[in-house]
């Protein structure tokens, strides 16, 4: 993602009409206007300061904390070696929350992609009224997560909830969504799917860009709807799929609000362990138990995991993504 973005970062008029040259091409020496360069640094200075303090500085600090025993009361940090990282493997809850989160992401991301794509394809086929449906489908995304949680807490109630009442109408005995450890994560997936419309909009924008003549030619050649979907739609929007998979995966691995609001709001710890998400446990470690060292180590482990997963997705995805630019 980033490398393309950087390539895309071609500044105003500095690469006149041409993409960056091949690897063998010698770099041209760019002449900078001193005054202009200084002004440029002045303009980006707010970001540089913020980055140095709240991102880069904070990362170094975080790394330091993860290798020390930080005591909030006295504001002191004593070296702890790798004890905090060892703790990650000793504390079974860390691994439980990690596997819960990975399981959730594996379940949620494909469903989100599929559902958002179905919705976008439906919207793409309707003329008048598309705006109305798009608005209706988008409203859940505008709802604050805390309001969503307050409603779904009652909708998902195993005995009296509307969802099980609805399932009963078609003869299905609904599960105890919020109590049964096996159904905790599907409950959160359901809430996430309700707010899937951001992904849908991205797909819709991509679908609108697929030239209609491709479908016309294909249907003249006798390709049915399924074939057209597989050989035209999917390749033509593969860039959007790729982008959504990466973004949704990163978001899923950091799921906090829903799990916290439904299960870990109060400190009773009565909720099933299968509802313990990584970000929630990290929060509990840091801000309920004030184990800053362990929490920082957890954060770095999460960062590593996200990096590895994203790297694999990018490597794997690049083989499937159809880049229009490659033709030139």
């Amino acid at each position: 993602m980033t490398t393309d973005a950087i390539r895309d970062a071609a500044p105003l008029a500095s690469h006149p009409g041409k993409k960056k040259g091949g690897a063998g091409k010698p770099r041209q020496k760019v002449k900078y206007n001193r005054r202009e360069a200084i002004a440029g640094y002045m303009f980006i200075a707010p970001w540089i300061i913020g980055f140095m303090v709240f991102t880069f500085g904070a990362m170094i600090f975080s790394l330091y904390i993860s290798f020390s025993n930080y005591r909030l009361v006295t504001n002191t940090a004593t070296p702890a070696g790798v004890a905090n990282y060892a703790e990650l493997f000793d504390d079974p809850k860390v691994m439980v929350s990690l596997s819960n989160t990975l399981f959730y992401a594996t379940l949620a991301v494909p469903l989100e992609i599929a559902f958002a794509l179905v919705l976008a394809m439906l919207l793409n086929r309707v003329g008048r009224g598309a705006g109305f449906f798009r608005t209706v489908y988008y409203l859940p995304k505008m709802t604050p997560s805390v309001a969503t949680a307050a409603v779904f807490l009652l909708l998902l109630n195993g005995n009296t909830g509307a969802i099980n009442e609805g399932l009963a109408l078609i003869g299905i005995q609904g599960p105890q969504w919020l109590v049964d450890p096996d159904w905790v994560k599907p409950s959160i997936v359901l809430m996430t799917l309700w707010g899937v419309s951001g992904t849908m909009i991205i797909f819709l924008a991509a679908l609108k860009n697929v030239p209609r003549d491709l479908y016309e030619v294909a249907s003249l050649d006798g390709a049915g709807p399924v074939r057209q979907f597989r050989t035209i739609t999917i390749p033509m929007i593969s860039g959007a799929i790729f982008f959504n998979v990466i973004v949704l995966t990163i978001a899923a691995l950091q799921t906090f609000d829903q799990a916290y609001l439904l299960f870990w709001r109060d400190q009773s710890n009565a909720s099933p362990e299968s509802s313990l998400f990584y970000a929630v446990y990290l929060y509990i470690q840091a801000f309920r138990q004030f184990n800053f060292g362990v929490a920082a180590a957890m954060a770095w482990l999460l960062f590593m995991i996200i990096m590895i997963i994203t790297f694999v997705q990018v490597k794997f995805g690049n083989r499937f993504v159809y880049y229009e630019g490659d033709k030139d």
Binding site: G40, L122, F133, P144, S145, V151, L155, A205, E324
Partner: protein
Amino acid sequence: MAVTSSAPAAVGVKNRENGVQKVRTTDPVKNRWYKPKSIVARIVLWVVLVGFAILFMYPFAWLLAASLKPRGQVFDNALIPDTVLFSNYLEVWDQLPLISWMFNSIAIAFLAAGAVAISSSVVAFGFAYFKFPGRNLLFGLVLATMMLPGAVTLIPQYLIWKQIGLLGTWVPLWGMNLFGSAFYIFLQRQFFLGLPRELFEAARIDGCTYWGMFRRIAMPLSIPSFIIVFIFELQASWNNLQAALIYLNAGSVEDFTAPLGIAYAMTKYSPSAGGQGDYQYVMVASLVITLPMLLIFAFGQRFFIEGIATQGRKG
């Protein structure tokens, strides 16, 4: 994701200055939509669309109904309450300090949105207009920060605010927005790149300062993308539970933001925590904090849609 760059450039800008952008030649009107040919397919399409619309709207209807019910009936799932209690809407203000929560949330949201929209715009102009050594590297760094999970910097940021003595104030909930934010910088920069460079050269010849170029030309022209950034951050801030939990949870209940307050109310009324199950107040409060967002969407829909579609194109 280069495929995405073949889309019309973000935010109504038709064509990028430097011609890197390839402009699609398909007739846009013809390409806009195509309806199914057979009448049966059209009916099926509409039934499915309406069915999904009902599914998406149901929780809102349920919420509205529940907010009007007396204590014992909140769980009955009736969309038309047996007993309609408009008094819930009056009592909630006594039951919960909702008015202060709303005030805190509104103030923080506007501070957060204003700060990030202005700062990101300044930084984006720096990256879009000026040539200086290391620019592309630095911009790559801006984009790379989007990958960083918030958890990594959470604790140090908390300790920084603690050190400065600002824990329990609003500042940690919006202060970092003064330094710009990666996605918004990207979005604003895309917009600035679409402005003709001659505009600035001409102003330069007329003796305009660099700041004047930003203030008098770039800013006024970038109002659409400015609004996108503003309302995106307004929503993000309004929705932000975790920061409020970390920075305000230890303080008094009146100082909570709306999301934190409702999370608190959910526990307060929960029978397992000694409450009496007065969930109707939670429902009223949830509805009250959702309405401003629905209103913003009603008025700013095209900005949201454009902003999100741009996200997909960021490649």
